[in-house]
Amino acid sequence: MEKTHRARRGAPLAALAAGLLIALPALAQEQFIGLPSYRVGPYAAGGSGIYGGWIDYMTLINERDGGINGVKLTWEECETEYNNARGVECYERLKGKGPTGNTTFQPLSTGITYSVLEKVAQDKIPMVTIGYGRTDAADGRVFPWVFPMISTYWSQASGMVKFIGGKVGGLEQLKGKKIVYLYHDSAFGKEGIPLMEQSAQKYGFTLKQIPVAHPGNEQQAQWLQIRQEKPDYVILWGWGVMNPTALRAAARSGYPRDRIVGGWWSGSEEDTIPAGDAAKGYISANLSGVGTGFPVIQEVQKHVYARNKGNMEDKNRVGSVYYNRGIVHGILTVEAIRTAQQKFGAGKPMTGEQVRWGFEHLNLDADHLARLGATGLLPELKVSCADHEGAGKVKFQQWDGSKWLPLTDWIEADRAQVRGLIEASAGAYAKEKGVTPRDCSKEP
């Protein structure tokens, strides 16, 4: 009787153990990605677009390909509301999840980036900062765990100078011209200044810097100053409500919108739609292509939205600037995992350390991008131990009153100039923090 009882008691335990044994291999075939997203709060529109695109791309990989070499992607969102303290909390909450811990941390916030800069190195989780964060982190010798891929702020500024140079008939024609740098009065807004000052000296144009206090919902004073200065071009380095306010104020003061060149955080539908007709003709930089014309976006519509598995509440936002940037986040993350698997074992979930290696060896040439259906969506990219930027290119687009239209192909920054600034700044950081830069010739 006792034996039977014991056997009865043991049966559920045995079943549980058997279940675990069956479940374990299934668990092991998952790659976990923690998403510190923001879907409420001041910047929810940007957060929902980028994280929505990124999630849709991961769904595509799971639905169409069955994962990366059979390893399914899993993810969990953690709401940061773009708040530093919450971002750190999310980092801690997500880092131990999944069979190999969090694969990569991409907070879409410069503040959160700074807050976890040293933690990611300790926890061996690569941090990817596409179009934000520390520019000098592009020096992978000093910042092995940070990847400001595609383009940094200095590459953007350099691209803008080149673009304006092209508009006036060549860089040498910039001599004697006047450019206003209208910026959000914050670390983000000031980020472009070193390169702009250096370029002003190099090409002989006059640079007038005009700050706008946060949040930037009043710019009458600034635009009256601009009206007095009569610049040839205005660079708009804004964020959030500052952008539509600038465009409205420009229209009010009669400044032509096609002489305003915005950065990539000033160049989304969320920046132009609120400005109404005042935004027509406005030009901005972008680090990804816009529209639904890319095969990869059509694949998402076919395999994700047609099966009602899309993440975007408003399907009309598929193909928008932020959405496509989210797809780019997805592509880079997936391709880094794939690259890591090629070295450390196909069909296995990768650790953060292995994925870091994958990011550092990403090589997306024209053929690779064509295979992904992403030609033109992002530039060709080759990351290395020393160069975590990988491309240094921007595109320019123009608002036609209802949508963004591509204006140029990829324009490469003056990479020698940008690299010089990056190395000087990273070197100063290394000295201050006592970091010994890696010797890239000895890296695997």
Binding site: V40, P42, D185, V212, A213, L224, V241
Partner: protein, 305 residues
């Protein structure tokens, strides 16, 4: 000199818009002694609800003009409901509690209102067109060479009319007098038969209406987005200058803040690196506090010893 006047006029027009937001604070403070931290969130809620209703009505095939006015009425209704619910759920249980308790409750209310607004209508940034072109007034441009925005003049006129009608309402109507009585002393007002809760509900509903007008104007200016909640920040120095209990004080305070911040940004800003517009009004207000703690038109607080 022409440039100086351009900056000054632009500043004064912006100041009227600040006064409009400050008015919402004044109304509630006058009637209940509560500093309503959620006023900025109410502006956001109102504007977002308005464009949300407008979108839904137009999707149902209603032409633009009727959709606009119906959305206005529906939003006004939503603001009245929000005001009544706030009174019932948040304020009524806290009657006779210290002012700081009521203030803290309105901080909580801020997050709730922001969350509800984004929860219902989504987080997308939207445009809002009131049909008034934001371009220079031609005859001012031609005759004086001054750049004055037509939209700003319209907005200032709207805000001015609202302030005037509210001042008259407070001064000359029975409900207005009851509001003032409640503001002076809750218990004394109750003892002579003024229904405190009804008065509070009316005040919150009127503050909701003011938030709707402010939301429409600011939303048309900069887009309907979360940043509308920041308009409250512009109202604080206005309140310090004008006094928390004075409707005319809000308008005068607004004009002073608007003009001084723009002039300071243009003429002092370049000397200190610029971007002083956000904090200069606070410095001005603090300096003013030293001279006149109750504000320009605030009621002097006298204690009998």
């Amino acid at each position: 000199m022409q440039f100086f006047f351009e900056v000054l006029i632009g500043g004064l027009l912006s100041g009227v818009l600040y006064a409009l937001v400050a008015l919402g604070f004044v109304l509630i403070y006058k009637a209940s002694g509560v500093f309503n931290f959620a006023q900025g969130a109410m502006v956001f809620f109102a504007a977002l609800s308005f464009v949300g209703f407008q979108e839904v009505l137009q999707r149902w095939g209603l032409p633009a003009a009727p959709a606009f006015w119906l959305a206005f009425v529906l939003t006004l209704g939503a603001m009245v409901v929000l005001g009544i619910l706030t009174e019932r759920i948040v304020l009524r249980p806290l009657v006779n509690q210290p002012p700081i308790t009521l203030f803290m409750a309105t901080i909580g209310l801020t997050y709730l209102v922001e969350g509800i607004a984004q929860g219902i209508w989504g987080a997308n940034v939207r445009g809002l067109d009131l049909g008034i072109a934001d371009e220079p007034v031609e005859w001012v441009m031609e005759s004086a060479g001054l750049l004055v925005s037509r939209f700003d003049v319209f907005a200032a006129a709207m805000a001015g009319a609202l302030v005037l009608s509210l001042a008259l309402f407070f001064q000359y109507t029975r409900t207005g007098r009851a509001l003032r009585a409640v503001a002076d002393d809750h218990q004394a007002a109750l003892s002579i038969g003024i229904p405190l809760q009804r008065i509070w509900a009316i005040v919150w509903a009127v503050a909701g209406f003011v938030a709707l007008v402010a939301g429409l104007i600011w939303g048309a200016r900069n887009g309907v987005q979360f940043a509308l909640t920041y308009t409250a920040l512009k109202a604080l120095p206005v309140l310090i200058l004008g006094g928390f209990t004075s409707v005319p004080g809000a308008i005068v305070g607004g004009l002073i803040v608007g003009a001084s911040e723009k002039l300071a940004e243009v003429y002092i800003g370049p000397m200190v690196g610029g971007g002083i517009e956000s904090w200069f009004p606070y410095v001005l207000a603090l300096a003013f506090l030293l001279l006149r703690p109750e504000g320009l038109f605030g009621e002097k607080h006298i204690d009998r010893v």
